[in-house]
């Protein structure tokens, strides 16, 4: 009965302080590395922050990236609460984009955009869910480990997309593997919408998909903690024996959790295909699916935490790109190292500062 952790942090420190300390530790480490290659770390930090938040264009891009991270982070979290590790966000996002694209390509010449866009969103969710459903079914009914199968499905998705783009969906006469452009159907860009409301901001890739991401954050939170299905899902995640005892069908719950997870990942396709590319292209997922694992981890699998982590990752992505542009010594690879360190410190090493914080808080309380 005494297997409880020796001392726990109060919730505010757990959710607020610990991640901040983790990020700070990562930035200090980054600073040392940056110094080692002869770059002034303060200048780099300044460029990073200005690059991510310094202008309305920068903020637009940061939010656009954050949208993708939020979708995949939520996808990982939903599965995680059910005790499942969905490593297949990348593939589900890819196939979700395919669904959205196919839907638009099929309908955009007959129906107005206001009708096609919602249908395409549904198609992205359905395709993403379907791509997650296969590993889920294999796990539920055949006991194939979901980590393995979802990883394999990432490769299958990549291969399938290449085949489809090169052989089937390629625009006639095109030299690059991309479909024809969508006609009159796309997710409205944020700067246009704001302009219509009389607010001028610089042009960026940010589009209305971010509203969908916010809806998803609230929706996941409501689903997990305020619906009977969320309750059942969390029961299974914490204690499958108790879930069985309570009369839940674990196979069905596994399917539900993974399909939801896949649908959320599929929304990356909405942001990318409907919002930015406005045609089907290759490789638009660009690692967002994998980063979702880190986002979810850093956000403590809670939608609010995930939203914050997604913003941080979006800022790193955007600020990192600016950094690489401004300082030649800071190559793209260096930026990846920075992101990697943040992931390392807030993910794998998340509990490293815990004992220090505990001791510190205990001392503060005693004083």
């Amino acid at each position: 009965m005494s297997a409880a952790p020796r001392r726990a942090l109060p919730p505010w420190a757990e959710i607020g302080l610990l991640p901040l300390v983790n990020v700070a530790l990562a930035l200090i480490t980054v600073g040392i590395i940056v110094m080692a290659i002869g770059v002034d770390p303060l200048r780099a930090l300044n460029l990073l922050v200005v690059g991510a938040l310094g202008s309305s264009e920068a903020i637009g891009y940061t939010l656009y990236y954050a949208t993708n991270f939020a979708f995949t982070g939520l996808a990982v979290a939903v599965a995680f609460h059910a005790g499942l590790f969905n490593i297949g966000g990348e593939g589900q996002a890819y196939i979700g984009g395919l669904g959205a694209g196919l839907c638009v390509l099929a309908l955009d010449r007959f129906l107005p955009g206001v009708i096609v866009v919602p249908l395409a969103i549904l198609a992205a969710a359905a395709f993403g869910a379907a791509w997650a459903a296969v590993p889920a079914w294999l796990q539920a009914h055949r006991g194939s480990h979901i980590v393995i199968t979802t990883i394999m499905f990432n490769f299958v998705a990549a291969a399938l997309m290449v085949y489809l783009m090169v052989n089937v969906l390629i625009a006639p006469g095109s030299m690059t593997p991309q479909s024809r452009g969508f006609e009159g159907t796309r997710m409205p860009a944020m700067h246009e919408v704001l302009a219509a409301l009389g607010i001028t901001v610089a042009q960026s890739a940010l589009n209305l998909s971010i509203l969908l991401a916010i809806v998803c954050c609230v929706g996941v939170w409501a689903f997990l903690w305020h619906t009977p299905w969320g309750y059942a899902l969390r029961t299974m995640g914490h204690n499958p024996d108790a879930a069985t005892y309570a009369g839940n069908d674990l196979k069905k719950l596994t399917m539900i959790a993974m399909c939801l997870s896949g649908a959320l990942a599929g929304f990356v396709g909405v942001n990318e295909i409907l919002g930015v590319h406005q045609r089907l292209v290759l490789d638009f997922t660009a690692g967002y699916g994998f980063a979702g694992i880190a986002v979810s981890l850093m956000g403590r699998n809670h939608p609010l935490g995930i939203a914050l982590a997604a913003l941080l990752f979006g800022a790193l992505q955007q600020g990192g790109a600016e950094l690489a542009f401004e300082i030649p010594a800071m190559t793209r690879e260096m930026v990846v190292v920075i992101q990697g360190l943040v992931i390392l410190f807030s993910g794998a090493l998340a509990n490293l500062p815990r004992p220090w914080l505990q001791a510190l808080l205990a001392r503060v309380r005693r004083a």
């Binding site: 005494s2 409880a4 001392r7 024996d241 108790a242 009369g247």
Partner: protein
């Protein structure tokens, strides 16, 4: 007993008193001394100013109601928690326990109620785990084997070093845990409710082992709810109530009635009174139930059983003879591989399976044997655990959304009715003491006013005041026309609760008799299948 606190404050008086205290090893400092230990979890004060001293080479008992703070105190001694205030002295020296490693280094070992063994490893491998003795495992293992043989002969603790732990009985696994502690050189052994999971026979063996350990100079700290064990095994006993030590008695100078009263603060009736049985319709009928596992082992073999409204049927048997599996099948968790089950008219067999959800709609409720593994979800708030299995029902779910207000109110009511302490629905389920977790699960199931109630180990880990209460609740359910099936390894419990007793052995029902005709001896013989 205020004098304990005064003792802490006035060293001279303590010294004086110490002169008169009986000590097996006179003159030596106490093996363990705790002074003014305080520990709070949020607003819950689990220990307040606890002072006690344990003589070297003695067996010291600690008793107290559920949630009195016994486990917390031992966890502090073992370094799992840090006290907010107070001192720990080992062999007269003040020490600070930063973690179990410190405790082990001081020769203090603890056997947890939930064993910490690696099931696929052998006894020997489990023994050296964390104390492998160098990079070359083989050398460490050889040394461990010799040491194990020495311990086995010295303390009379025989276990096959090459047996796989997962294949051992619960009693044997516990012996491995004790060996593990001794192997690390412990001179003080803490046992937290060691007999809760044991059969009476295994319990007897355990207490023989403890007696040997004592002879060899090992100090034993024993937490238990069974006053019989306290009376039989201990030299001294401390009584805790609401975080404080309220009494210290020499075992020879006290009796179970006094201890019970000290614990609960009122007189406890240790015998159960109930009216004559008035049975009604058959509500549950099992015919030739078979269960064969994937390896082809027969776990249940042609089990026939009838449950009638208004009776309590007790299943007696050494644990591991099919009782667990029978409960799983009757509650719909597991499917039988053969035979037929009728629950209030619904026929269940291999081609018409069921599930726990359907069983609940038929009015069958189930208090699982293992509350931590099945009955609750450790990280859930108590309120969430209090609707496990019923979360889709009104008022817990309304128009597709969980109603947290209703759930919390419901949990508060259950806690009040079953005296779950502390009565805080927002507290994490795992933060409740063992007995209070059990009361919460029982409360949840009994609150549904079931027509059929299956109860596994109803009072495991529950204090005597609560046992009295739970038994009366079960009898009240029976009087209201519920069919109650009780599985328990406690013969006393089976004998005092049941109207009819069924004995299981080797997956079969080997005997049945009305409670009036049963006594411990006949049941014991039947359980060992001596006259089959």
């Amino acid at each position: 007993m205020g004098n304990r606190h005064h003792a802490a404050a006035h060293p001279s008086r303590r010294a004086l008193r110490a002169l008169f205290r009986v000590r097996p090893e006179s003159g030596a400092a106490p093996a363990i001394e705790l002074r003014g230990i305080d520990k709070s979890f949020g607003t819950v004060r689990a220990n307040r100013g606890v002072s006690l001293s344990v003589a070297k080479g003695s067996i010291t008992g600690i008793v107290g109601e559920n949630g009195a703070g016994k486990s917390t105190l031992m966890s502090i001694l073992y370094g799992l928690y840090e006290a907010d205030a107070g001192e720990i002295l080992v062999d007269g020296q003040a020490v600070r326990m930063r973690g179990p490693a410190d405790a082990i280094a001081r020769g203090i070992g603890m056997v947890h109620q939930h064993f910490m063994l690696v099931a696929p490893f052998t006894v020997l491998e489990n023994l050296v785990l964390g104390a492998e003795g160098g990079a070359v495992l083989r050398r460490g293992l050889a040394a461990a084997r010799a040491e194990l043989a020495r311990l086995a002969s010295e303390y009379g603790l025989s276990v096959d070093p090459d047996a796989v732990v997962g294949d051992l009985s619960v009693g044997e696994q516990q012996r491995v845990e004790i060996l593990k502690v001794l192997f690390r050189g412990a001179r003080v052994l803490i046992l937290d409710e060691p007999s809760a999971v044991l059969t009476p026979q295994e319990t007897d063996q355990l207490f023989r082992i403890l007696a040997t350990l004592k002879e060899r100079g090992v100090t034993v700290l024993l937490i238990t709810h069974k006053l019989r064990e306290i009376m039989a095994a201990t030299d001294t006993v401390f009584v805790m109530r609401q975080g404080e030590v309220v009494a210290e008695r020499r075992t020879a100078d006290t009796n179970p009635e006094e201890l019970a009263e000290l614990m609960v603060g009122r007189k406890v009736r240790l015998t159960l009174e109930k009216d004559a049985v008035a049975t009604g319709d058959v509500l549950l009928k099992a015919e030739k139930l078979d269960l064969t596992d994937s390896r082809g082992v027969k776990l249940l073999d042609g089990v026939d059983l009838e449950l009638r409204a208004g009776e309590i049927v007790g299943i007696a048997g050494v644990s591991g003879n099919g009782q667990t599996e029978l409960l799983q099948i009757l509650s719909g968790i597991r499917r039988p591989t053969g035979g037929r089950l009728q629950v209030r008219g619904r026929v269940i067999d291999t081609s018409h399976p069921t599930d726990p959800a359907e069983m609940r709609t038929l009015g069958l409720c189930h208090v699982p044997e293992d509350r931590q593994r099945q009955g609750m979800v450790a990280p859930f708030r108590a309120a969430e655990t209090s609707i496990l299995g019923y979360h889709k029902l009104k008022p817990f779910t309304r128009r597709g959304l969980l109603d947290h207000v209703a759930t919390t109110a419901h949990c508060g009511l259950l806690m009040e009715r079953f005296d779950v302490r502390p009565p805080i629905p927002a507290l994490r389920s795992s933060s409740f003491s063992g007995g209070n977790q059990q009361k919460l699960v029982l409360a949840r199931e009994m609150d549904r006013t079931p027509r059929i109630l299956l109860v596994g180990q109803p009072t495991r880990g529950v204090d005597i005041g609560a046992i009295e209460f739970i038994h009366r609740q079960l009898v009240a359910a029976r009087d209201a026309g519920c069919a109650v099936l009780v599985v328990s390894v406690e013969l006393d419990e089976i004998l005092s609760l049941s109207d009819r007793i069924v004995v299981m052995f080797g997956g079969r029902i080997v005997g049945e008799l009305p409670a009036a005709k049963a006594d411990e001896r006949t049941l014991g013989l039947m359980m060992a299948n001596a006259h089959a």
